[in-house]
Amino acid sequence: MSTNPLLKGTLQTIILKLLEDNEKMYGYEITQKVKELTVGELKLTEGALYPALHKLEADGLLETFTDVVDNRVRKYYRLTQQGSQEVTNKLQEAQAFIEHLQLLLNLKPHTS
């Protein structure tokens, strides 16, 4: 398992996409979902996750609400209307970036 530094640049996109697919999530759930989807290959540290969540919230892309679970407050994040629109843009940006990386690093699989 690695805390890949390449994750840093795409962290916001990952969070937005996860919230688009899951409607509402809390911090721990996001870290576990990333672990699950990457079969434990990538690990999101809490020190990186929470500042990214708070930034997205401050930018108006996410909103929060709380629920009481087992006598403790749980904070959920969900997309705002602006956030829902931004997911598409962020995914297109990521897609374009990956394509450029493939060209630059010659990573495209050879088809014969």
């Binding site: 809390y26 911090g27 809490e46 020190g47 929470y50 500042p51 708070h54 403790r72 904070k75």
Partner: protein, 221 residues
């Protein structure tokens, strides 16, 4: 892994003393307890898991303080930007009509009737946000049982700005200059007082809008 109430209290106490804001405390406390609950039984003690999360996942207590500071700065910038935006809206169409009408009414009353309304308007608009703040600040700042939220701290500074300016205009000059004859509302030109009164009205309304639109969490806290 099962976690006993006593173990939860112990983790809670350590976290309580090391966090400044309620949001941070609640979010990280839930994160740690949930992590412990998902930990396989019999591997580590709950306090070891908690310490590991703080040290390795969050980067230690100092990093946690940085995270709180960063959050406070971001929320503060966002709220202040919103308040400034609402303030400026009163100088653009269509709200400029309200601003100009207010200015005309205030000027007419002050110049043809009495200056008292100016004092009342400025005083009310300086103090009303403080009342708004008191309404949404249920915690006792001296109590150890409550932690302020980030937004409560920002709300406090927003709501007291009008009162601070009022004190600077009305009381501070006479104290600083040791001048007993200084009477702000009697000596200042009516047009200047009108501008100040209108600015106070707009400031107060923009703060009310911030409370309604951007500080909603305070009402549910």
């Amino acid at each position: 892994m099962n976690i006993t109430p006593a173990q939860q209290d112990s983790i809670r106490e350590v976290l309580w003393h090391n966090t400044k804001y309620r949001e941070t405390f609640e979010e990280i406390y839930d994160h740690i307890i949930t992590s412990i609950e998902h930990e396989p039984e019999g591997t580590r003690e709950p306090h070891e898991v908690a310490q590991d999360i703080i040290s390795n996942e969050f980067g230690g207590w100092e990093k946690l303080k940085e995270l709180e500071k960063l959050r406070q700065t971001e929320v503060s910038s966002h709220i202040r930007a919103k308040q400034w935006q609402y303030f400026k809206e009163y100088f653009k169409a269509p709200l400029i009509v309200f601003t100009l009408l207010s200015a005309a009414v205030v000027y007419y009353m002050a110049s043809h009737v009495t200056r008292k309304p100016l004092f009342i308007i400025i005083y009310i608009m300086a103090m009303a946000p403080v009342g708004l703040w008191v309404k949404v600040a249920p915690f006792n700042p001296f109590s150890k049982k409550h932690k302020p939220s980030v937004k409560q701290g920002i709300a406090q500074s927003l709501c007291t700005i009008g009162m601070s300016i009022f004190n600077c205009l009305v009381f501070l000059p006479s104290v600083m200059m040791n001048d007993d004859q200084y009477k702000f509302f009697n000596q200042m030109h009516i047009s200047v007082l009108t501008v100040i009164a209108v600015l106070y009205i707009v400031l107060g309304l923009s703060i009310v809008k911030v409370f309604k639109e951007d500080l909603k969490i305070l009402y549910t806290a």
